[in-house]
Amino acid sequence: MSAATVTADEHAHAPATPLPEAVALTVDRPDEQSRALAIFRFVLLIPQAVAVLVLAVIWAVTTIAGYLSVLVTGHYPRPLWNFNVGILRWFARVWAYAYFVTDRYAPFSGADLPEYPVRMNAEWPENGRVERWRGLFAPIVALPFTLLAVVLDVLCLLLAWIPFLSILFTRHNPRWIFSLYTFTLAFIVRATAYSDALVRRAPHFRPNLARAMWGLVLGILFSAAIDIPIRALQHYHPVVDSTAILLVALLAAPLFFLVGLGGFDYWFYWASGRRTRPEDHSGHGARSWKDYFRINTDHKVIGIQYTVTSFFFLLVGGVIAMLMRAELAAPGQQFVDSNTFNGLFSVHASILIFLFIIPVFAGIANYVLPLMIGAPDMAFPRLNALSYWLLPLAGVMMLLSFLAPGGSFATGWTAYAPLSTDAPIGQMFFTIGVQFAGASSVMTALNFLVTIITMRAPGMSFWRMPLLVWANFSTSLLVVIATPFIAASQFFVLLDRALGFNFFEAGKGGDVLMYQHVFWFYSHPAVYIMMLPGFGIISEILAVKSRKPIFGYRMMAFSLLAIVVLGFTVWAHHMFVSGMQSWIRIPMMITTAIIAVPTGIKVFSWLATMWRGVLKLDTPMLFALGFLTMFVIGGISGVMLAIIPIDIHVSDTYFIVAHIHYVLFGGSLFTIFAGVYYWFPKMTGRMFDERLGKLHFWLTFIFFNATFAPMHIIGLEGMPRRVADYSEQFAGWNLFISLSAFVLGASMLVFLWNIVSSWVAGPRAPANPWRSLTLEWQVSSPPPIFNFDTVPTVVGGPYEYGVPGAVHGIFKSPAEASKTPAKAMAP
């Protein structure tokens, strides 16, 4: 099935097993080592030290001769090659002796001596042919390895007292020290040979987190390497400025991290004309927890990576909220000063928007969507893996901003200029972090669009797709069109701040309001990006739990598309008091009000879906019902905000905070909880604890309302938002809100306990615990590694409940399948 897609073109693809190391090093582990030698080693080393010094000079000359030869003739002369390899061998044996790896004195020779415990052999390049460019660039290309070799060497030097004392007292070198030192020696020798153009293959360094961390270090060094010379040439003082290097590193280091992780390996190999490793999906599935920390192209693994990472950031954002509410519990300053508080609410919002809500929907869809359309994976699995790994980089960057001099970014997640262009370096952690999060989002959306358009199972027309697929299709359209605008707005800020541009300098031809227009042109569609997938989840859950088809399926799909289109026409409702031209306000009010119509259609359709159904009121259903209630309240306050004079009064007050939390927490987060509980059996193969689930729901529902409902009141009364301190008159409500918020935060622990304990030891889940018709429930829980053993054929709609014998998809070939006509759908 999917393994058969490996191309037969032998020249394009590398063999399945990698080639061995170009330089072989074997070391015999000694049994006992001499105490006397341990003490007198350094004296005995002196003759070899002299020899090594002399040889080093000779070696420099012969190595350069080698480079020149390669550059001019494209060949490495054999005698010269043998000589240089011999010198390297000599050095290796001296190193081994000096570093307590062997007690046998290093011979004064470069020849290959099989009886000596340290044996090194290099692979003569085929016919002596070495690419010409290596004559000039081999040392540069080898830098990542030679630098690491230096680091390892220094590490061995610093730890040398361990083998010394160990041999002195026990006459044995601990095994782990021996392994570390032989590993280091091998790496030094291989890196050096590669750097000297003696061999054409770099030392093995498998792409994994360790290599990625090393990439991070190289990225920082690279940033310094380009920043310092440029500053010197431009006469910027001080020439070595840590803030400037940091700024470049924020852009470069994450990219180096991804290269180290192997995220770009395939494209690098392909672009350089070398043999690529075929994607035969043999890496699919996760056999241990370690697989989740590598590049993995299985959409199910990526889905879980996304979801777990996102929930980690939910916890971080939630803890920040607890700190904020602790400070706001009473007027005056208690725990944090103004600057820290401003940083707290800025990071709170940024983390929860870019690292929780947007990616968690991507994660759930990543897992469920291909299964739901009968596909073996996403259209672009490698891109999928890369898009996941961009996310922790963005999140760590935003959190690290707290350690920056001057504090974290403190201009709100909206980062208005000129406050953000004049801010300390912490601001840049947001400016650049958002770029990585945005890139991740766009890649995923592209992937979804192509997958949905091209990889649906036979028989699945657009009008037979489950609404979750429609919802993610619509969301992906929003993402690919809108996200470049927030990237643009942040690039403007970056350029203004780092290079002295004047996009937002009022006196120099800049326009402060332009930032807001460009920013909100993304950030309004962003709120639909954060809601539409949730709508899809609710449609799935309500249909299954009411045992009824979705009412008005076609209008549900059209209303999603209507929200996508209209979502681009309303951005300036965030700017009614911004001082923009006053005539824009009226059309924006009208478009904002109109968006309530397709949203209303969805709400009423959901209600009609439940009507006369058979309602199973378990945890996912409870969250879906809770969502309906909370989202209607959020929607009503939203319509109020469309009305210009009301918006003018409550802009930038706690009324807005109430509205956004009703739609994002009561809206999006409730759908996320519903979806996680609903697909938990499919993703983990276990059932969660239903009683704990219900407890989680009720605690959340009650204390969510207790926390955020009063905010409407204090906002109308005059309490502004983004304030560390407030007027005495609001003290009572703020205390009530803070206490409710603490219980709300605690209720998350119930959820965490349920999920973790069920994942580890919950009862095994059947393939289809909810008796759903959609395709993902027709395979085992969790699904087979390649999803479907037979490609399903879709013969009917996804919600044919109430029709005895109706099916959505079957697992016969299309010839054998007899189509069940989809029931006439209104209108």
Partner: protein
């Protein structure tokens, strides 16, 4: 279900209309906005009640009963008529609301005759006001905002640094202060009293403390205040020399400089908590220190307080005479 819904809506609307959501309404415009809000509540509550009643009814009536575990509901896919209704009715409702709003907005923003212009300047972290048409061209910068009752005002709002927002909750209108442009709005205060001015756009570390007070007074009191701002300061009768200076300094402290908004000083009867308590902070300090802490506040910061919150341009906004009098007053008031 209909009956329950109707009763719930009526009760809900009654309660909502009875509650005073807005702070005490102190302008003509605020009353119109508050009325508009009431209209929105009347429109919204039945919508919410409708949705909730249906949800609760479904939960009660259609829940899965024992024995129904494998039962499905009827395969109803839609109903054209119903879908037309629930598309058209909200659309019409919203068109109606938007139209009504348009007229309210026009009424709120209509230019009035006899409008007085007040220039508002925001800076990190205070407001200053200027009355360009009054006082026969004698310029003065006020830190307090005084307005006569029932006189239409147009605020022209600017900023010296970043974006701020000039908002008086009791007036209900607000507008951002944006670098590079002048924004404005019109208001007619119609209730006597003192109301807070709040900055409603994040502007830095002092955003939550960037507050002021607007005093809506009778026209006579307003004229008297104007005169006191533009006339040369007169010491209270019967005092002379240092005592006179101190008395004038007290007027600066409690009046034009508005120090009491942020500082506690027993002698002046102020209790601001934003900045250090002057009774302790200036006790025993010499005149040079007091002067520096006014004109260069960031030079020495009291423990527990932050840099960059006290305006740094009092050296310019106060005249030399005012500054001298103020220093004299503070030395005297804190050495008791």
């Amino acid at each position: 279900m209909l009956v329950i819904g109707l009763i719930a809506s009526i009760i809900g609307i009654a309660i909502a209309l009875a509650i005073d959501w807005f702070p005490p309404l102190a302008s003509k415009q605020a009353k119109q906005v508050s009325d508009l809000f009431d209209v929105l509540l009347v429109a919204s509550i039945p919508v919410f009640v409708l949705v909730e009643v249906v949800v609760l009814f479904c939960v009660v009536k259609f829940r899965q009963r024992p024995g129904q575990e494998l039962m499905d509901g009827p395969p109803i896919h839609g109903n054209t008529g119903l879908e037309v209704v629930w598309t058209a009715v909200p659309a019409l409702l919203l068109v109606g609301l938007c139209t009504y709003t348009y007229f309210v907005l026009r009424s709120i923003e209509k230019p009035q005759p006899h409008t007085m212009v007040v220039n508002v300047t925001g800076q990190q972290f205070t407001w200053t006001f200027e009355y360009p048409q009054l006082a026969k061209g004698k310029k003065f910068n006020a830190v307090q905002l005084y307005l006569p009752k029932d006189r239409p005002v147009q605020f022209k709002v600017r900023t010296l640094d970043v974006i701020h927002d000039f908002w008086v909750p009791n007036f209900s209108i607000k507008i951002d202060a944006v670098p590079g442009i002048t924004t404005s709005y019109r208001i007619t205060p119609n209730r006597l009293g003192n109301y807070p001015i709040v900055c409603a756009e994040l502007c830095g570390i002092g955003h939550s403390t960037m507050r002021g007070t607007v005093h809506v007074v009778t026209p006579q009191k307003f004229r008297a205040w104007l005169r006191s701002q533009t006339a040369p300061p007169k010491p209270p009768p019967g005092t002379s020399g240092v005592a006179a200076q101190a008395a004038l300094g007290k007027q600066v402290f409690t009046g034009s400089a508005g120090c009491g908004a942020c500082h506690t000083l027993a002698d002046a009867g102020t209790s601001g908590k934003v900045g250090p308590d002057l009774d302790q902070g200036l006790k025993g300090k010499d005149v040079a220190f007091i002067r520096q802490s006014i004109v260069d506040p960031n030079a020495q910061i009291t423990k527990g307080f932050a840099k960059g919150i006290m305006p740094q341009d009092f050296g310019q906004t106060l005249s030399k005479q005012q500054l001298g009098d103020l220093v004299t007053y503070l030395k005297q008031a804190t050495s008791k």
